[in-house]
C-alpha cells in the first residue's frame, strides 16, 4: 500500500510537470504575434470576470427563488435535527399487569430495563389471569406477568419489531426464564443472586466511536451536495440559455471575451451556492448545539470541510457541462432534454452514496465511485464518514476530479464559444464540431 501511495504521488508530479513543460515549449514555438494575450492574474479578480461574477451573485441572491430555496432547505435541515430530539424526549409509560406475586428485585430490574428503553413502568395487580386478560384487551395494560412464569400479550411481536414494548417483553421473558432455570438448578440463594446480577464485561475501544453520528453527517452532507449541485447547475444552464435567447449575449460578447463571460457566470453562481451552503451548515451546527441534538455533534471540522470541499469540486466539474449545454439551447423546453443526460451520473452517484450511508456499509461500488470524477463528489464524503480513507486515497480522488475538471472546462468553453451565437434552432454537438 505504501509503495502504491508513493507511485501515485510521483506519477501526479510527473504529469503536472510534463504538462507545464509541454505548454511552455508549444508557446515558444508559436510566433510572438500569434500568441494569445495573457492577462495579468490581477485582472481576473478585478476586471471583466469580477464584474460578471458580481452581477451573477447580486442577481441570484436578490431573486425570490434563492430566498425561498434557502428557507426550504433550512426548514428541512431543521426538521431533520429537531424531530429526533423531540421524539427521544417523549417518555412512554407502560403499565404491567401482575397476577400473583412478583419479587421486588424483579420489579426493580423491570423498571430499570424500561428506563433504558426510554419508558417508565408501573405495576397493577390482578387477582386472576382472566381479569388481567380482560384489562389487556381494553388496552389498560401493555402485558401481564402471571405468577412469575407466564407472560401474556395481546398480539404477538414479529422478530423484527423493535418497539419499546416488544423489547421490554423480550427482556422480561429472558429474565424470568433465567430465574426459573437458576431455581431449577438448585443453587443457593446467594449463588442465584450472584448469577442474577451478572454484568456484561466492559469493552474497551482503541478509538472512541461516533460512527452513527458520522453516518448521519454523511447522509445530510450527501443530500445537501445533491440538492445544491442540481439546483445551481440548472440555474447555470437556464441562465446561459436565457442570455442567448434574449440576445443580451451579443452585447456582452461585443465587450467581453467568451471565456471571461463564462468564468464570471460560473464563479458568481458558485459563490451564491457556497453562501447558501455556509448558511445551512452554520444553522445546522448552531441548532444542534442549542437543542442538544447528537446528529451533528462529534462531526468535527473534518467532515464539514470535506462536505463543503466536495460541493465545490462537484460544482467545478459539472458547471462547465451545464454551461455548455445552456449555450446549445434557445428555449425553455429544450432545457429538460439537455439537462437529463448530464444529471444521470449525479443521480447514480447520489443513490449509491445515500444507500451506503443509510446501510452503514461502505460497499465496493461506493469505493469505486469515490475515484470516478463524476460520482466522487457524492461517494468520497460518505467514504470519509466511514473512516476508511487514507489521506493519499483522498488526494488521489481530488487530483483525478481536478484533472477531469480541467479537461471538461476546456471542451465546454470551446462548445460555448461556438454555440452561444448560433440562433434559430437547438445546436447539436455535430453542428458545433463542424462550425
Amino acid at each position: 500500500m505504501r509503495t502504491a501511495r508513493y507511485v501515485i504521488i510521483v506519477a501526479v508530479i510527473l504529469v503536472v510537470t510534463g504538462l507545464r513543460l509541454w505548454r511552455r515549449r508549444r508557446r515558444r514555438r508559436t510566433p510572438k504575434s500569434e500568441r494569445p494575450i495573457r492577462l495579468p492574474r490581477r485582472e481576473w479578480a478585478t476586471g471583466d470576470v469580477a464584474l460578471v461574477m458580481g452581477r451573477e451573485l447580486r442577481e441570484r441572491i436578490r431573486g425570490r427563488f434563492y430566498l425561498v430555496g434557502t428557507v426550504i432547505i433550512l426548514i428541512v435541515v431543521g426538521a431533520a435535527i429537531v424531530i429526533p430530539v423531540v421524539r427521544s424526549s417523549k417518555t412512554a409509560s407502560e403499565t404491567v399487569g401482575v397476577v400473583g406475586t412478583l419479587p421486588a428485585a424483579t420489579r426493580t430490574w423491570l423498571v430499570a430495563a424500561a428506563h433504558d428503553d426510554g419508558a417508565t413502568a408501573r405495576f397493577v395487580t390482578f387477582p386472576t389471569k382472566a381479569r388481567a386478560t380482560a384489562s389487556l384487551r381494553t388496552g389498560h395494560i401493555a402485558f401481564a406477568i402471571v405468577h412469575g412464569g407466564e407472560i401474556v400479550v395481546e398480539d404477538s411481536f414479529s422478530p423484527t419489531d423493535n418497539s419499546t414494548i416488544a423489547q421490554l417483553v423480550r427482556a422480561v421473558a429472558t429474565r424470568l426464564g433465567d430465574q426459573r432455570a437458576l431455581a431449577a438448578a438448585g443453587l443457593s440463594t446467594q449463588q442465584a443472586s450472584i448469577l442474577g446480577h451478572a454484568q456484561p464485561l466492559t469493552v474497551y475501544a482503541l478509538h472512541h466511536g461516533t460512527t452513527k453520528r458520522i453516518y448521519a453527517t454523511s447522509l445530510i452532507g450527501v443530500i445537501l451536495i445533491f440538492i445544491m449541485l442540481s439546483q445551481y447547475n440548472t440555474w447555470l444552464l437556464v441562465g446561459v440559455m436565457e442570455e442567448k435567447a434574449s440576445r443580451v449575449v451579443e452585447v456582452l460578447l461585443a465587450a467581453v471575451r467568451p471565456v471571461k463571460l463564462l468564468s464570471g457566470k460560473v464563479l458568481g453562481i458558485g459563490l451564491a451556492a457556497m453562501l447558501q451552503a455556509s448558511v445551512v451548515v452554520t444553522f445546522a451546527l448552531v441548532l444542534s448545539q442549542a437543542i442538544g441534538s447528537n446528529l451533528l455533534r462529534g462531526a468535527g471540522p473534518q467532515e464539514i470541510f470535506v462536505t463543503l470541499g466536495w460541493l465545490v469540486l462537484g460544482y467545478s466539474l459539472y458547471c462547465w457541462l451545464y454551461a455548455a449545454a445552456g449555450s446549445m439551447a434557445e428555449r425553455q423546453d429544450q432545457v429538460q432534454s439537455l439537462a437529463l443526460p448530464l444529471s444521470l451520473p449525479m443521480i447514480v452517484g447520489y443513490v449509491v452514496s445515500l444507500t451506503a450511508a443509510s446501510a452503514a456499509t461502505p460497499s465496493l461500488v461506493l469505493r469505486i465511485f469515490a475515484y470516478v470524477p463524476f460520482t466522487a463528489p457524492f461517494a468520497m464524503p460518505v467514504l470519509v464518514g466511514f473512516g476508511v480513507v487514507t489521506w493519499w486515497q483522498f488526494a488521489t480522488s481530488v487530483v483525478l476530479t481536478l484533472a477531469c475538471t480541467l479537461a471538461v472546462a476546456r471542451v465546454a468553453t470551446g462548445i460555448y464559444r461556438r454555440a452561444i451565437l448560433r440562433t434559430g434552432s437547438r445546436v447539436r454537438l455535430r453542428d458545433v464540431n463542424t462550425s
Binding site: 442577481e59 442570455e243 434574449s246 440576445r247 451579443e250 452585447v251 460578447l253 461585443a254 465587450a255 451565437l421
Partner: protein, 298 residues
C-alpha cells in the same frame, strides 16, 4: 474627413451559403450612415464581424488604420436588432453594468446612467425591471446602454423598428447628436424614408456584396430625372403610360411619379398631361431613397 472604419474584403460562409462575399466599404466619423440591404443581404453578419462575434474566411476590419481588436471594441457601441437586455434585471443596474463592461468607473457609470435615463424620461423607472417597460421604452434603454460610454463607433441594427413617431424622433435626435460629437454612427433599417431624413451617407449591400455607397445628396440627384405630375380628374395616371421616354414609377393620391429618359423633353410630357385634363402640379423631384435602393438592387 478621415475614413475611420474600413471593412476590407470580408468573406464569410455558412456551409453552402455565402453571407459575405468580398465585402468592402468604409465609413467616416461624424456622420450618420444608413446600412441598407434586403433581408439576408449580410447586414447583421457584417455587424457581428465588426464586433468579433463571428469568424471570417478572409478579410479585415480596421479602425483608424489598425486592425480591430478587443481594446477597440470596448470603445464601440452595439445595439442588436431585438432585445439585448436582461429582462429580469433592474434598468439602473443594467446600465451601470454595461457601462462598466465598456471600461467606465463605477462613479462614471452611475452618473451616465442617471444622465441618460433623465434625458430619455425614464429616471423614475430606474428601479423597474426591463420586462416591465413598453417596447419603445425598452428600445430607449437599449440605446442608452449602447451610447452611455460615448463610443467612437456606434453600430445599431434596426434601432427604429416598431417605434411610434415620438420614439423615432427621440432616437434620431440622439444619433445625430452623437455623430456631431465625432462618433461614427452606422445603423441598418428597412424604413428607407427615415434613412433619407436621418443619414448623410448610405451603404447598400446585397448577397454579401457592396451594391452602392455614397452621400445621400449625391445619390438622390444622380440617375434618371423624376417628375411628379397631377392632372385634375385623372387619378389613375393612365395618360402617362403612352408617353414616349417615360416610365411610371408610382401613382399616389392622384399624383403620378415619372422617371424620364435622358432625351425626354419635359415640354412633351406637359403637353400630354394637358391633353388629359387641367394640370395642377408639375414639378421635378430628387430620387427617393426607396428608389435608390430598388434601382441599386435591380
Amino acid at each position: 474627413m478621415a475614413r475611420e472604419l474600413q471593412v476590407e474584403a470580408l468573406t464569410r460562409r455558412y456551409g453552402m451559403l455565402t453571407a459575405l462575399d468580398d465585402l468592402s466599404f468604409s465609413a467616416n466619423a461624424g456622420e450618420v450612415i444608413g446600412f441598407l440591404g434586403p433581408n439576408g443581404a449580410g447586414k447583421t453578419t457584417t455587424m457581428r464581424v465588426v464586433f468579433g462575434l463571428t469568424s471570417l474566411e478572409s478579410g479585415l476590419v480596421r479602425w483608424r488604420g489598425n486592425p480591430v481588436g478587443a481594446p477597440e471594441r470596448r470603445r464601440f457601441g452595439y445595439m442588436p436588432e431585438e432585445r439585448g437586455l436582461y429582462p429580469g434585471m433592474r434598468i439602473g443596474d443594467q446600465l451601470v453594468y454595461m457601462g462598466r463592461l465598456h471600461g467606465m468607473s463605477r462613479f462614471d457609470a452611475h452618473r451616465a446612467t442617471r444622465k441618460w435615463l433623465e434625458r430619455l424620461g425614464l429616471v423614475d423607472r430606474m428601479g423597474d425591471k426591463v420586462e416591465a417597460l413598453s417596447h419603445g421604452n425598452q428600445q430607449r434603454v437599449q440605446l442608452a446602454a449602447a451610447v452611455m460610454h460615448e463610443p467612437e463607433l456606434l453600430f445599431l441594427d434596426e434601432p427604429l423598428a416598431g417605434l411610434d413617431p415620438t420614439g423615432i424622433d427621440d432616437i434620431s435626435e440622439i444619433l445625430i447628436e452623437r455623430a456631431r460629437a465625432g462618433c461614427c454612427v452606422i445603423f441598418s433599417s428597412h424604413q428607407l424614408d427615415q434613412v433619407e431624413d436621418l443619414c448623410e451617407s448610405v451603404i447598400i449591400i446585397d448577397h454579401g456584396r457592396l451594391v452602392v455607397a455614397g452621400h445621400v445628396d449625391d445619390l438622390a440627384t444622380s440617375g434618371a430625372r423624376r417628375l411628379v405630375v397631377r392632372v385634375e380628374a385623372d387619378r389613375s395616371g393612365d395618360w402617362a403610360r403612352d408617353v414616349k421616354g417615360v416610365t411610371v414609377s408610382e401613382v399616389t393620391g392622384g399624383a403620378v411619379r415619372l422617371i424620364l429618359d435622358e432625351e425626354t423633353d419635359t415640354d412633351d410630357v406637359l403637353q400630354a398631361a394637358r391633353r388629359a385634363g387641367r394640370v395642377t402640379e408639375f414639378v421635378m423631384r430628387r430620387r427617393r431613397m426607396s428608389e435608390v435602393f430598388r434601382e441599386a438592387l435591380q
